[in-house]
């Protein structure tokens, strides 16, 4: 072609051809489908099989859900409307939703109180969960337990105030004495708190709760999903610090502290939670005189907290063990004392490693709160199994109720898990 001249060529393109759209098989949805759903014969078969299964599931459940009846007041009436058709009777939810959420004894005109407590929980938890927020918000977090107690249980405001005063007095004494020695500060703080509580309890007049601003609600009247949330939040937030203390105690050089922590952890981990709950509800009643029984809610909280703190302690011990010994030695060489080294060097790293394990236990613990239904507390599962299914109107409705409970639990647990993933990304210091 060396003798080919420009003049001898009939047409010479002087501009670039405008880019054509890629063929439909190489881009866009068709390509995505081919690459992801039908890349090989085997995968294509699997895709078809999976689609068939999905269709099978949806074709039976969707009409059942979408055709659901929402406005009858008994199962019999609902079945009459359905007239042999298979569809859900969601009217049990519209009629009994308040019982599923709050239990059957919480007065309905007071539902705003737990609602407000839940709303405030988000504000109180925010500075703990998202540490970019201003640290001053933590003051509200510190006050929140007392506000929530007062809102949910009602009664005299003096009780939470005295409790708060005890904590403040304990902290002040601790802050003053801790410079001399930690043990002195610790014991002094506890003594001060106990003294304030004792005096305060003596000062609260008899029957103060009867004419209080918020009507007092006994623990027995709490129930529904509210009870699950309360148990979950209280026990997780209590068991985390106790778990850290146990994990550190287990590594202590003092044989007494180490022994107590090891025995506690191993004993609690060796006993099923349901056994502890039975002990809380049945056995403890024998040890107290009939008139002075400790509140059942409190007994359950103590048992679940003990249980989960033993597990959290082991998770954190795993985090501590993962740290190289050099971290401790570096802290020593900087001249930090034990408390400083733990607070500034060891725990931040160990806790970061332990996040997935802690979240795992928190999610498991939250779901375990439904076990309280076996000791005749009416949490959401207890409400479903007991009063609602035993009412003449709704005897025989299962799927709708249990689906509702699963949706509630799923929302909360998925939220916890998403938060922990965000936290891990936020704290990631390894450079990948």
């Amino acid at each position: 072609m060396s003798d080919t001249h420009a003049q001898s060529v009939a047409f010479v393109r002087e501009t670039a051809i405008p880019p054509a759209a890629p063929p439909s098989t190489a881009a866009g949805p068709v390509k995505w489908v081919r690459d992801n759903l039908f890349p090989t014969w085997a995968n294509a078969l699997l895709t078809v099989a999976a689609l068939y299964v999905i269709w099978l599931v949806l074709s039976s459940t969707l009409p059942w859900i979408l055709g659901g009846i929402w406005n009858t007041n008994s199962l019999a009436a609902c079945r009459e409307i359905l007239d042999g058709r298979s569809a859900a009777c969601f009217s049990v939810l519209t009629e009994r939703w308040h019982q599923l959420l709050y239990g059957f004894k919480y007065p309905s005109e007071l539902y705003w109180r737990p609602n407000l407590a839940l709303l405030l929980l988000f504000f109180a938890a925010a500075p703990v969960l998202f540490f970019d927020l201003p640290r001053k918000l933590l003051i509200f977090t510190g006050l929140y337990p007392f506000i929530a107690y007062w809102l949910i249980w009602g009664g005299t405001i003096l009780a939470p105030l005295v409790a708060l005063a005890g904590f403040i007095a304990g902290y002040l004494v601790y802050a003053r004495l801790v410079k001399a020695s930690f043990a002195k500060g610790f014991l002094g703080g506890i003594a001060a708190a106990v003294i304030v509580w004792g005096i305060g309890g003596y000062l609260i007049p008899e029957g103060a709760s009867d004419r209080a601003m918020l009507e007092a609600i006994p623990s027995r009247d709490l129930g529904g999903f509210m009870l699950n949330l309360m148990l979950g939040v209280t026990c997780v937030s209590l068991s985390l610090p106790i778990g850290i203390a146990l994990a550190l105690g287990r590594q202590s050089h003092l044989p007494l502290i180490k022994g107590i922590c090891v025995v506690f952890i191993e004993f609690i981990r060796g006993v099923p939670l349901i056994t502890l709950l039975f002990v809380a509800s049945v056995m403890l009643a024998y040890f107290f005189p009939p008139e002075s029984t400790v509140d059942l809610f409190l007994r359950v909280v103590i048992m679940i907290t003990m249980f989960s703190s033993a597990y959290i302690a082991e998770v954190i011990r795993g985090g501590l063990a993962a740290l190289p010994k050099g971290q401790n030695e570096a802290a020593d060489s900087l001249g930090l004392d034990y408390a400083q080294a733990i607070r500034l060097i060891i725990l931040p790293q160990a806790l970061k490693i332990s996040i997935p394990g802690i979240v795992n236990i928190a999610v498991g613990l939250f779901k375990d709160t439904t076990l309280v239904s076996v000791i005749s507390l009416f949490d959401i599962v207890g409400m479903i199994r007991g009063p609602i299914l035993a009412s003449t109107d709704w005897n025989g409705v299962y799927w709708e109720l249990l689906m509702f409970a699963s949706v509630l639990f799923f929302v909360v647990c998925y939220g916890i898990s998403q938060y922990s993933q965000w936290l891990e990304r936020r704290l990631a210091t390894d450079h990948r």
Binding site: Q99, P289, I375, N395, Y398
Partner: protein, 338 residues
């Protein structure tokens, strides 16, 4: 836990047992409420309604006692108990009376140290099978899988029945009646057995009740009644005679509608003694004269309680059967009020 704590706890437990043994009646009056143990939910017998009010056949007994003792049928603290926690709740003093369709048996009365104060429902254990199974007698159930509630007398009766008839079965243990219903409908067991009243109520809730039959055999006696702790006969008497008052009221034709009129204008001396216009019966119990009148006024007589909660006009639809008055061929027979 160190030693002194254990001893301390034991001492407290001892004191508690001692305290619980003393006058329950005074405790209830001082407290102003009656602590009554009920089920966590059994259709027709005890369950809270949409407003959270406890309703049912056993609940009515609690309310009648509260009306008699405290003058207020609503002054009852209902303590829900499961089949496993009910006896400890009563023994530990957490509740004053247990009205939880509990079968009166020798060992519960003697060995567990409770006093059954009477029978408010005569029941017996029956079997329910799907019609499609084609079984007409419980003796044909050789090799069947049976749904059975654990921790109840029905479990033991079932074993006895199959042993006596020399046939085999496979138990499927379940916890609550609601669970049993679903297991049975899902085909996890061929047979569901529990008290006949429970079977009738369960079947009534099915979508197609006609597809299931109750077998004719009743394999046990299940006298269900309220119970109190041993060792406090005064309190036992109060509960016993409140129940008897409800039964006697039906026999004597006293109902919630006419009790006021009866009290003022009756010529029948027994009605007058029952309603406190004659004699000193209330004072003998440590109550006022109107105790029985209040119980009947608020709850109705036995027949009314039966009809509103579990009778033939309710979805449960139980016939009176053994629970009719002795004058109608049943077993209900109150000792005379004299």
């Amino acid at each position: 836990m160190n030693k002194s704590m254990i001893f301390g706890a034991l001492t407290v437990a001892g004191l508690a047992a001692g305290a619980a043994g003393a006058a329950t009646l005074d405790d209830v009056k001082a407290r102003g409420t009656l602590n009554c143990g009920v089920t966590t939910g059994l259709i027709g017998f005890a369950a809270p309604d949409a407003n959270g009010e406890w309703k049912g056949f056993d609940v009515a007994v609690c309310r009648a006692v509260a009306a008699a003792v405290l003058g207020d049928a609503t002054a009852v603290e209902f303590v829900p108990t499961t089949g496993k926690t009910r006896f400890t709740a009563l023994a530990s003093g957490e509740i004053d009376v247990l009205a939880r369709n509990t079968t009166w048996t020798f060992s519960r009365d003697v060995d567990l140290k409770f006093d059954f104060i009477g029978v408010n429902y005569y029941d017996g254990q029956g079997f329910m099978v799907p019609k499609a199974l084609g079984v007409s007698s419980a003796k044909d159930l050789d090799g069947a899988t049976v749904c059975i509630q654990t921790g109840t007398t029905t479990e033991l009766n079932l074993a006895d029945f199959f042993r006596v008839n020399n046939i085999s079965y496979e138990p499927v243990p379940i916890e609550t009646n609601a669970e049993a219903q679903q297991q049975y409908l899902a085909g996890a067991c061929d047979v569901y057995t529990t008290d006949a009243s429970g079977l009738a109520a369960t079947r009534a809730a099915f979508e197609n009740p006609g597809d299931h039959v109750l077998l004719p055999e009743i394999v046990s006696k299940e006298p269900l009644g309220p119970l109190v702790r041993h060792g406090d006969s005064e309190w036992g008497d109060v509960v016993r005679w409140t129940l008897n008052a409800l039964i006697a009221a039906e026999e004597l034709g006293v109902s919630s509608a006419n009790v006021g009129e009866m009290a003022s204008s009756t010529n029948n001396p027994e009605i007058a003694r029952l309603l406190g216009t004659e004699g000193e019966l209330g004072a003998m119990l440590g109550l006022d004269a109107d105790w029985a009148k209040r119980a009947i006024e608020t709850q109705g007589n036995y027949g009314e309680i039966f009809a509103t909660n579990i009778g033939e006009d309710t979805p449960i639809g139980l016939a009176r059967g053994l629970n009719a008055q002795w004058t109608d061929g049943g077993l209900l027979y109150s000792p005379p009020f004299r």
